[in-house]
Amino acid sequence: MIDFEPTEEQALIRDTVGEFAKSEIRPRARESDEAGKIPADVLLRAHELGLIANGLPEAFGGGGERSALTGALIAEELAFGDLSLALAILAPGLLAYAVADFGTEAQKQRLLPALIASPSALGTIALQEPRFDSDPYRPRTEARRTENGWQLDGAKCLVPWPDSVAHVLVLASEGQSLAGFLVPRDAAGLRATPESYLGIRALATAELTLEGVRVPADARLGGPTGGHLRALVARGRVGLAALAVGVARAAFELARDYAKERHAFGAPIATKQAIAFKLADMAIEIDAARLLVWEAAWRLDQGADATREATLAIQQVRRVALEVSDGAVQVFGGHGYIREYLPEMLLRNARGFACFEALTLV
């Protein structure tokens, strides 16, 4: 039956994470952006909530309750607090979810227990490429068979790259198919250069160059024949899209509250239709985008192919997050442009969804 109410358990998780985002994440958003650093204490407290572990297999120390829909609810709440911090908090899942979904039994046993137990991200994922036509389904980075494994060549960017990372899952084209390879941080031929972006400044990311990087046979995610990663892209888009909804909602709520406080011509600017209608449009677009994200997440939870739904969701949310955060800057006027207030940061962060293609966050 078609319905739009989360289960009681989902609502409880959402509210708990929402409270955490409001009281622990949001107050640290500005300082993190300015310092270009994630506060370690927030990561530790987030780890205690067990958000990632809960969705990973019980056999390796997780909670065994994987749901893209629940993941989307969590991601939206975290990003409502702050996008950089949300990405950092969810980063331990980047490799863990990919291994859980596509890894061989041996890979799961080797990697998952440590990934699940660690409060910081021991692994990451390299998908985006520094080109205008960066294509998650057909990366330019190539994997070629060698005598006893694979050789990787190419370039990646926007790779979440905290100091704790030991492995990076590099997505590459292996002939016509999309495959992933586990590359140790210190592999010969892999060079990581720190990046600096318009937004998500608190999050450490790297540009990777891979020149003749050789990995052994068991480095291919899913084994020599398994691990067709097309489905990873849809899942990765759903997680990002949910984050974008959170950014948009943050911008909307700031704008709404400000418009009710700010007086001009003797009344709150929210009483003027030019402002009120803009806010109404924001609210409508955010709700619509969220429902598209839920639909894609729901399909993933049904075990169905969600390529179409995930693409529509991320494409829509990409636009909505940008428009709403830009609208928030506009509602704040001059105050939206100065760093004393958050809208300018939200606008910079929202534009980031133009570059992020897929990250396994749910």
């Binding site: 039956m1 205008f132 998650p136 009120a276």
Partner: protein, 410 residues
């Protein structure tokens, strides 16, 4: 539980109405668009005799409730929005009776729609030449005549959908909004059921429109039109009628406005149906001409055409999901006026844009009367206007999200 899975029942209903749309409506689309005020007899007879039965084997089992009603409306407007509005049903008049009427009134006015041997129509008359969105500015008056225990209506109503059938065919009725006391503003507005062919109710004209031409949009004049006191929706002890006419009608203006919380999701669903007609056709036609839409292409390597179509698909689905959400809240008995207005505002705008874009993207054939796309573009625009314009729905949404009253945000 969040779910996008329709029940078996509504899937069967959807398939049934989709077949009706394609086999019983589309073949008549062009004819009744051109022959504007003709009665689409084949369609009316089919709907009255066969269509009302709904999907075969539809009885029993779990349904999607109000969401299913939206799905049916979408399918039939995917067929033809003008013919949909010409269906012999109680329509908005029925919604008003259901929302604000007493049990006795529901029985009296709605039973004929189950039992009449011939097709009948219901309608709602609100709009006047100088009172559209601002329905509190209504000038039509209702005066209580104690001697005869009747209400006497005087005024002129325009843009009354299905107004020809509802005012002329025995068994139908028109719900008329009128003020019992102009000094009371909105508080003085009540709704009255005027049965078809009541003396004093005159059909004086039918509009010629941009689209939905198969639908009869009537101007009705009320000249000392008398209805029994029992026809005041909501009813009220007669004793108070003379001294406190403003307190007559249990639910009054608010009750009448509540009609819209229930009807807006349906209107939004109708809009989605028209939009889907154009979008589905566009996608099939592009494919026939060698352009396939991919969902896995690199975002910045898409052609402008592909990008446009993907956006149209996403926007239409966004409108549909907002619509289903507003309807599903009714299933849960939750107030939904914010969500209903969100759905209506989004759907009206989206399908207006989608159908206009479809005409553009198809090139000269899209603009040609050889295809129905130009008609769907004309049909779609009404969804951004009736049942609350885009702007009125934005206003309702704005008031809700800002927690402002109608006097704080005008």
């Amino acid at each position: 539980m969040i779910s996008f899975d329709p029940t078996e029942n509504s899937t069967r209903a959807r398939d049934f109405y989709r077949r009706v749309a394609l086999e019983r409506m589309r073949p008549h689309s062009r004819r009744y668009d051109e022959d504007e005020h003709a009665l689409p007899t084949e369609w009316v007879e089919f709907y009255w005799n066969e269509g009302r039965k709904g999907a075969p084997g539809n009885l029993g089992g779990e349904t999607d409730g109000f969401v299913q009603v939206c799905i049916q409306a979408e399918e039939l407007c995917f067929g033809d929005a003008g013919l949909y509005l010409r269906m012999p049903t109680a329509a908005l008049g029925g919604s008003a009776v259901s929302a604000a009427g007493t049990q006795e009134q529901k029985d009296r006015f709605l039973r004929p729609f189950r039992e009449s041997p011939h097709p009948i129509w219901g309608a709602m008359a609100i709009t006047e030449a100088s009172a559209g969105s601002d329905s509190a500015a209504i000038q039509t008056t209702a005066r209580f005549d104690e001697a005869s225990d009747e209400w006497i209506l005087n005024g002129t109503k325009i843009f009354c959908t299905a107004g020809e059938g509802a005012s002329q065919i025995e068994g139908g009725f028109v719900v008329v909004w009128a003020t019992v006391d102009k000094t009371l503003g909105r508080g003085g507005i009540k709704s009255f059921v005027v049965p078809a062919r009541t003396p004093g109710m005159k059909l004086v004209g039918l509009e010629k429109k941009l689209g939905i031409r198969a639908s009869d949009t009537a101007t009705l004049v009320f000249e000392d039109c008398r209805v029994p006191s029992a026809n005041l929706l909501g009813g009220k002890p007669k004793a108070s009628l003379k001294t406190e006419p403003g307190r007559a009608g249990d639910k009054g203006f608010k009750g009448a406005m509540a009609t819209f919380d229930a009807s807006r999701p349906i209107v939004a669903a109708m809009a989605v149906g028209v939009g889907r007609a154009a979008l589905d056709f566009l996608i099939e036609e592009l494919e026939r001409q060698g352009v396939k839409i991919h969902f896995d292409s690199a975002p910045r390597a898409q052609t402008a055409l592909e990008r446009d179509v993907l956006e149209m698909i996403a926007e239409l689905q966004a409108a549909r999901l907002l619509t289903w959400r507003a309807a599903s809240m009714m299933n849960r008995g939750k107030p939904n006026s914010l969500e209903a207005s969100m759905a209506k505002a989004k759907a009206g705008l989206v399908v207006t844009k989608i159908t206009q874009k479809a005409v553009e993207l198809l090139g000269p054939p899209g603009y040609s009367k050889k295809l129905l796309v130009e008609k769907w573009m004309r049909d779609a625009k009404i969804n951004d206007i009736y049942e609350g314009t885009q702007q009125i729905n934005q206003l309702i949404v704005a008031r809700r999200i800002l927690e402002y009253s109608s006097s704080q945000l005008r």
